[in-house]
Amino acid sequence: MRIVVISGKGGTGKTTVTASYAHLSQSMTVKVDCDVDASNLHLMFPTKVHERYGFKGAKKAVVEDWNCSLCGRCISSCKFEALSMNDKVIVSDLLCEGCGACRYACPSDAIRLEAVTTGDVILSEMPNGLISRAEMIPGEEGSGKLVSEVRKQADRSERDHQLLDGSPGIGCSVIASITGTDVGVVVTEPTQSGLEDMKRVLALMKHFDVVPYVLINKYDINEDIVRAIETLCLGEKIEIIGKVPFDSKVNLAINQGTPIVAFKDSVAGRAIEKSFYKLKERILS
């Protein structure tokens, strides 16, 4: 069973919820942080690194100056405007998408593609199980590929269940995070932005056949929008598995590196705990 926590909008509380579910789940669940360019889940647990390796997830064009006749054909062939001429042809590492079109445009065979490391993939031990995650090098290409690599590492750990922390948005990283998962928990907040972004991510999940559940975080901020979320979910036959009140202890817990469910006297923690057992019940039945 693969359960992904996702949101559309950033900062609605994905990692707070995932860390809590991770704390409550058994050691047979491997935790997977798919937010490779802003990975935070591991900050909530004491971890010990088991394995760490660089992942070559993209390519970059390299111009071999001794062959280059400075004809400039590569520059006009590049749709990403990554090449420029300044006494010699210069490749912008940040703009190059490693497509290799320049290589085919070059009459002098002066360009090759080189595989580059886009980040580190890390497997660590945590109090109840394993966590697979990555640290992407800021600005790199291919975050989706890195997510897939993190998930492959989790698959290799051969645990019965996987709990995945997704990234914001609906693009390549999110598609790579939700593909092949069974259940998705959409963490939303009752704001106009949260509502609009939730709609988009729910439509994406439908396309990828992921069974959706909704968790409303900070529900007491705007009861009108809570009703709008409830109406939408009712229409789409999506169950709301919990409503979590705003709780200033959440930030305290984050700053102490403690999942909110393990934090003393937190109303948010209790609500998230309840949603976990509700979800478990639904999945088992």
């Binding site: 559309g8 909008k9 950033g10 900062g11 609605t12 990692t15 937010d35 360019d37 802003a38 935070n40 900050l43 062939s77 749709k79 990403f80 940040l94 703009l95 998408e97 490693g98 497509c99 290799g100 079109a101 290589r103 085919y104 445009a105 992407m136 800021p138 600005g139 790199e140 290409e141 291919g142 975050s143 989706g144 990234s167 914001p168 948005g169 609906i170 693009g171 390549c172 990283s173 999110v174 598609i175 907040e189 009752p190 704001t191 106009q192 932005s193 609009e196 972004d197 988009r200 439509a203 994406l204 396309h207 901020i221 705007n222 929008i225 705003f246 930030n251 984050i254 700053n255 590196g257």
Partner: protein, 268 residues
Amino acid sequence: MDVVVLSGKGGTGKTTIATNLSKILGYAYVDCDVEEPNGYIFLKPKISEEKEVKLWNPTMNNNCLLCGRCVTACEYNALVKVLDKIMIFEELCHGCGACQLACDNEAIEGFDRTIGILKKNHEFAMGQLNLREPMGGPIISVLKKETNHFEHRILDAPPGTSCSVVKAVQGSDYAILVTEPTAFGLHDLKLAIQLIQDMKIPFGVIINRYESHTLIDDYLNDMNIPCIGRVPFSREAAVQYSKGDLLIESEKYHQVFEAIGHQVRRLL
């Protein structure tokens, strides 16, 4: 003059800062978070122009001999040879044209496939990626080109530090990094700082939902990084945001943003 607003971590308040500041400074607002654009919720613009954003995709004509060179050339595995034809997986195609250059028989033509939409008026623009499309990058590029004539722009970047963020940030004169006073905010702020320093763009930090001296203040002090504003936390602000209202509609926050605007003007 382009000022880009980014954050690393999602939900720290990029859009809040970008929309309110665009009003205070009188700059045009350009929403580069094409996966989840939200700026329109707060600015409520009247859109005067709307157009589809397209990406070139290859198609094979009758010249195709099924030699498979295009398949080898495609770095994104978007082309596959099956029995009697070359198949394209459109969502994987970056529109780079390597296949066309690799083909010896002029067998590859192309068509422009819609991947999103662009909406704008004289002081606002946004891009929106179509569902199931993985790549927002091309939309951000088009969006920035189409709004190049705006004298001053606030660019609202996507969260994270991936290639879409690079596309939004590229070429900006100044960057505002928005963070929140949590360990998550700090962790991701460091990544955003690394990116912005790599790109050699001058920057300052805004701490959003500020209550009292935080771990972020300590870090900025230690690293000698300028903090150009602290937006105080209040439940009223959270409620205002939830309704889709600008914070500067309240007197207290108007002053906060005036002060930030003053700082930004001074730095530029």
